[in-house]
Structure formats: structure tokens, C-alpha cells
Symmetry: C2
Subunit: 348 residues, 2 copies
């Protein structure tokens, strides 16, 4: 049940392709290292301690929304902790990011991945959601999120970041049975995990398929799309899903088939072309190149205007970057971008 | 002046969109670390010594063509040595690849990049071309190559590989004058360098824009396309240019505008869709996902067949991977792929 303030907020109206007083904006990774207020909290704890301490996760989430003046908050969390209760041994190494000590390197090891049934060990996530929702302004929606099945499978198989996804694709290409078992378990786990975020207080969720751009359209269609679709179809009715994939504009028609109410575009495609491909009956989110935030303000303004112009006055555009904001970006520029978008955005 | 054997070889006929007895194939990085015959030579010298010793560069080029039975040889060389006489201080560190000690990090430093006028310091490249051409079978063309202006500019600015191209894009976005000066110098240098390869004995050349996939269509069109086009227009008439870009199918219409006779596709796009986008009046090269070579032979065969099927019997398809072959790939699989393509390829 949405309050009237939430039902009529900019973000959720745009997600329903309804006109808004101006274009809504939020920034992927808005509670991140570029922000001094975030670093003040982060300097006292490790990254994973921050993720697992609801009071601190709530604090950085709320602070980022407040200091930027963005139209949505997004839960501070990471893609990978949901894999821990599924049997993945995860560690965040200082300066190196996440490492999985027991990656799934053979089809015979798929049995080590258990479907997520009991959510108790992830209660820190839902507690953070409750605290954030309690303290957010009443007209600001809270977004939950998770990795899409392919991106999570890649982490579980590669054990960390990857350049060529050799192990992941080898399993996908050569052992369809093992691949389907893994993707099924991830999909069913994701439905439970995302619905629990919604039950705790999120008004929308985003699926991040950050790594699926390495796939050909045929492979995405046959080996990935069915599971992303399964997740989206399992989400509580009435909750908008933002379906975001980066790195391959040729997958956009298939991304649409996978479902969702809003489609996240990266900057590799012109937003006008991307929206046309996906269909004007759904919303789009994006798609400023994050490096634009390293530029001087007149250049940033001109580049933000290009993205707004590409939306051509249609209702249903949520402004964002095409990927997360970098640590090196000046926080002042992010604040300036939010003001520019509100000022230059699509008006009724 | 082409000999009849070369004029009528599979590769050059396909590059002119003429029918061939079967689909021609070569493999990007075919003289590479996956090949035992290459490693036998490489184990005695460093990578850059191999590049700069014409006898050895010729040996690995010729051996790869012979043991694989591919329809073209490609000069063994690297993208970066041409930057040395332009003022770049380049070193290949063991296990880490190329490092540039004096990257161009500010517009004020553009003056350090000189246009390549005297080719004497690159004579090892042209000497290798002469030796390879002398010893190649008379019906096998030799391909020359170079990095496209954007990819070379990225190396010169970042100083090495890059995840987000922050320095490169910052200059491109914020200092148009400096950017255009750098791209102009690279374009004019590339014309001289590639024409010298042709004069020494190459029958076609490939431009590698390996990193341009990080760009939006607008940025590619305004800041990159004019210089790639300038290079292609400067190539000796009658010499086919393969224009290859990886990482962003949305750039394909612009790649066509930049020119060339054959367009290299990566696997992120279906070859049928890519060819339709680019136009059937020109050839296409590609586009098997290189990870396919890690699969069992029946899977490899089925995946190679999908690429051949996408060409739908049209003349003008040159089979290749969508990117270079990995070191981990079994050489036997590469040989098997060449046989499969010749066996299953498009017949008259």
C-alpha cells in the first residue's frame, strides 16, 4: 500500500510513464566513495561491516539522498552477500574487492550452491530497509536491488571480476544441464530475496546485469533471458522493476522480452534509439556517461542536456548515469548534475 | 600489382564480395601464445625483441599461417611501437604488458606527440613484411594492421590499459582543440605507416579500434569517426581496409560511415543483424566468441555453424573470431575450427 505522497512522487510516476513536474534523477552508487559524508562513515569500518550494520547502511543511504537531493534512495548493500547462505565463501580483501574462495569451476560442483530458503542470515539487509524507510522523506521512494542471475552466476564461477568470462561461458556452452540448474537456483533465490526487500519497505527494485554485455544475443536469449524473466515475473505485483544491463546495446530487444517496467540503458546507445528499440510503452533510465562528471560544469551541462533532449519530452524517463559514479568524481559535480536535471528536465 | 594467384585468392575475393569456393578464415592473434610453434620462438626472446627482429617476426607469421591452414597471414607486430618515434616512451614489462612512461595527461603536453614523418626507426616492420611476402604461398595474402586513432590516443593518454578511460574521455570532452590536434597527428601518421606496410608487400590492412566500444554514438561520430575516415581515405587505392571495432554494436552504422571494404564484427551482435545494419554491398568479418574455442569439438562445430548460417550464403563473409584468440585455447581446437569452416562454409 503506497501512501499518496509515494504514489504521486516523481520517480514512481515516471516509472508508470506518467508526466512529472520535472525529470526525476538518482545516481547509481550515489552512496559511494566520491562522497565525503560516505567516507566519514566508511573510514571507521570495512566495506562489508558497513553492509552488515543496518544503522550504518541506513545512515549512508539517507545521507546520500539528502545531500544530493535526488528523487530516490537506493539501499546501501552489495550484490554478493546473498550468495553466502547459498554456499559461497566470500571475503572482501582490502583494496582488492570481493574474492570468492570456493568458486564453482566444474559442473560437478553445482551441488554446493543451495537455493536460498531461510532469509534469516540476511536480516541485516531487511533491517536496513526498515530503518531507511522509517527515516526517508515521505515522498522519496526506496529502491531495493540485486544482481541478475547471469551476473551472480559469473561471480560464483569466476570467483571475482573477469576479463573474458572463460569459466562462466565454458560452463554455459558445454554443460547446459549444470548451467540451467545453477541459474534456476539463483532465480528462485532472487525472487525470495527481492520480495523480502519489498516486504521490508522498498517501493521498487533494480536488477543489475552488469556483466551480461559480454554475451551474444543468441546466448543471452537461450541461456540467460528465461531466468531473468522468471525473477521479474516472481516480484510482488505492482512493484516496478528496473531491468538494467550494461555493455551491449544489441541485447536491448531481448532485455525488453525479459520484462520490467523501466529499462536501464548505458551510454553506449543514444537514449532516443534505445527507447525506440525497447518501446515507448515502458520507461527508460539513464544514460549519461559517468566520465561526464569529471568535466567542467558547462561541459557537464551540455552533456546532461543531450540526454534530456534524447528523451524528447516523453513521460517515463528517469535520469541516471549509464553506470555507477566513480570514486574520483567531485561530489560538487554530482550535486550540480542533480540541479541541472531538475532545472532542464521535461516539464508538463 | 596483384599476381593472378593473389587476385583470385579466397580472402581477397571475399573482401570484394565475390563468391569463393568456401568461406575464407583467419584468426585474430593467430601467431600467439596458444600456439606451441610460437612459444618455441618466443621463449628465446622478449615480446618486443620478437616484434623488432624481422626474421623472427616473419617466422612466427609464416608458421601460424602454415600450421593452421588459414586463408591469410597477418604481420606479427604490435599496435604501440609506431608511437615510439612519435615521442612515446614505451616499455614492455614482463608479465604486465606495455607501459608508457610519459603518458599525455594534459592538453599542454600534446606538443610532445610528433607526427610520424621519418619511418626509418620502424624499418623492422617493413623488413618483416618483405620477408613474409617473399616466403608466403603465392595464393595467401598478407595483412598489415595498425591501431585506429582512438585506440592509439587512449594508450598515449592512459599510459596502458584502462577500465573507464577517464583521462582519455576527460580530454575528449573538455579540450576539443587538444583532442583534435592529437587525433590529426595520429591520423596522418597512420596513413604513412600503413601505406609503408602496403608498399613493402601487404595486400590488405586492418584497423583495430579495440577500445572504441566505450564511446557513445554521439562521441564516436563527433570526435573519432572523422579521423578513422581520414586514415581510410588515405590508404593506397585498391587495397581493402578491414575496419574493426569491438565492444559496442550501436556504433556499427557509424563504423560504416568511417569507411572500409570489410567490417569486423565482434560476437556481441548477431552477424546477420550486423551485416544488415552495415549494408550488403560490403564484406563482414567475424564473429565467433573466442571462448567457443575452449569448448568440446561438437559444441565448437555447432557454434561455428551458427556464424556461417548467419551469413546466409552471401558472398563477402570472412570468418574470424570476434576478438583475438586467448593463450589458454588448445591449438588443436583452432586447427579444427579452420577445417570446420572450410568444410561447412558457403559454397558456390
Amino acid at each position: 500500500m503506497l501512501t499518496p505522497a509515494l504514489r504521486n512522487c516523481r520517480f514512481l510516476k515516471a516509472a508508470r510513464c506518467e508526466p512529472t513536474d520535472t525529470t526525476p534523477i538518482w545516481i547509481m552508487r550515489q552512496a559511494g566513495r566520491y562522497l565525503p559524508e560516505y567516507m566519514a562513515v566508511r573510514s571507521k569500518v570495512t566495506f562489508i561491516e558497513l553492509c552488515k550494520t543496518p544503522e550504518l547502511a541506513a545512515e549512508v543511504t539517507l545521507t546520500a539522498q539528502r545531500v544530493l537531493g535526488v528523487d530516490a534512495a537506493i539501499l546501501f548493500a552489495d550484490l554478493l552477500p546473498m550468495l553466502e547462505p547459498m554456499g559461497i565463501d566470500l571475503e572482501y580483501l582490502k583494496g582488492e574487492g570481493p574474492v570468492i574462495h570456493n568458486p564453482i569451476r566444474a559442473a560437478s560442483e553445482i551441488g554446493r550452491i543451495r537455493e536460498l530458503e531461510d532469509l534469516d542470515s540476511l536480516s541485516f539487509v531487511f533491517e536496513a530497509v526498515r530503518q531507511i524507510r522509517r527515516d526517508l522523506p515521505p515522498n522519496i521512494p526506496l529502491l531495493g536491488f540485486a544482481g541478475a542471475p547471469f551476473t551472480l552466476a559469473s561471480y560464483a564461477i569466476e570467483g571475482g571480476g573477469s576479463k573474458n568470462y572463460v569459466a562462466t561461458k565454458s560452463m554455459m556452452y558445454c554443460d547446459e544441464g549444470a548451467w540451467r540448474t545453477l541459474m534456476e537456483r539463483l532465480a528462485r533465490s532472487l525472487i525470495r530475496y527481492l520480495n523480502a526487500q519489498i516486504d521490508a519497505g522498498c517501493q521498487a527494485v533494480q536488477l543489475f546485469d552488469s556483466w551480461a554485455g559480454c554475451l551474444s544475443p543468441d546466448d543471452y536469449r537461450d541461456r540467460v533471458l528465461p531466468y531473468t524473466k522468471q525473477v521479474i515475473e516472481g516480484i510482488r505485483p505492482g512493484i516496478p522493476v528496473i531491468n538494467f544491463l550494461t555493455g551491449n546495446p544489441a541485447l536491448l530487444p531481448l532485455l525488453r522480452q525479459a520484462g520490467g517496467q523501466v529499462f536501464g540503458l548505458d551510454w553506449r546507445v543514444n537514449l532516443a534509439d534505445g527507447w525506440k528499440t525497447i518501446g515507448y510503452d515502458v520507461g527508460v533510465q539513464g544514460n549519461l556517461d559517468p566520465v561526464s562528471l569529471m568535466a567542467d560544469l558547462p561541459t557537464l551541462r551540455q552533456r546532461a542536456k543531450s540526454v534530456l533532449d534524447a528523451a524528447a519530452g516523453r513521460a517515463g524517463h528517469i535520469f541516471n548515469l549509464g553506470h555507477g559514479v566513480f570514486p574520483e568524481v567531485p561530489a560538487e559535480n554530482v550535486k550540480a548534475l542533480v540541479e541541472m536535471v531538475h532545472e532542464m528536465g521535461t516539464k508538463p
